[in-house]
């Protein structure tokens, strides 16, 4: 049977966005792909043209994570945060922010085993609707294509 790899998007509440996607790989492997820097740098890159020269993940409650994306023209974006909960193979909860002046989102990633497949549910929770809108607004003001990419990175929900 072919795995359905459609991404489904839901808004569980006024301050949350969730996306669900199934992968044709066992739970432990998918968990490691999301949480080990040596794997993350190979795929969490968004559209073509970006690399991730910095990826630091201290995978334990209270541990920090930091990622920097870079494009050939030298433009960069960075995200940082802290792990709140780490349950091997099944769940991580982490904060995420563009920097001190930005509101942190709380991102929960669930890895649900289904035989040799794994369904990943990523939920981003904003502190308030106003913060969510402010995040969108500032991303929009720059107008250029890069702002969408920065915004996408701002909303990048796991490390």
């Amino acid at each position: 049977m072919t795995t359905d790899t459609t991404v489904s998007w839901t808004t569980p509440s006024a301050v949350e966005v969730a996306m669900t996607r199934t992968f044709d790989a066992p739970q432990k492997l998918v968990f490691e792909a999301f949480t080990k820097p040596e794997h993350v740098v190979h795929w969490m890159l968004g559209p073509e043209g970006w690399t991730m020269p910095v990826c630091e993940i201290d995978l334990r409650p209270g541990g920090r994570w930091h990622m920097v994306w870079q494009r050939a023209d030298g433009s960069e974006m960075a995200m940082t945060g802290e792990y709140r909960e780490v349950t091997p193979w099944s769940k991580t909860v982490q904060t995420e922010s563009w920097g001190p002046e930005w509101p942190s989102t709380v991102n929960t990633t669930r890895f649900i085993a289904d035989g040799d497949r794994t369904t990943v549910v990523q939920t981003m929770e904003f502190p308030s609707r106003a913060d969510r809108d402010r995040a969108l607004e500032t991303g929009m003001k720059d107008g250029a294509e890069t702002s969408y990419e920065r915004l996408a990175a701002y909303l990048t929900s796991t490390g």
Binding site: L29, G46, E48
Partner: protein, 112 residues
Amino acid sequence: MADDPLSTTFAALADPTRRAILARLADGAATVKELSEPFAMSGPAVSKHLRVLERAGLITRGRDAQWRPCALDATPLREVSEWADGFRRFWDDSYRRLDGYLERMKEQDDDD
């Protein structure tokens, strides 16, 4: 912040009645009376929602003083959709790349 178009659009879209009004207007222009009927709301209550939608640029009102039919203007919705597209594209592209990467991880697992 109230001046920001995207925030104004989100605020206008936050109400289920207003979303239902927009869905109705997607089928074609309508008068306040026509819009009031399915919602079991008074004309003034619907007019209040229409003013919010008009301020957000989501609808236009006709000039006819008596009927002032409302029509949908999808321009602000396009902005919301562009934002969502950027976000979607980031994860769609990343997930697709992860599919291939997981295959390589599986092969390495088998080699161990």
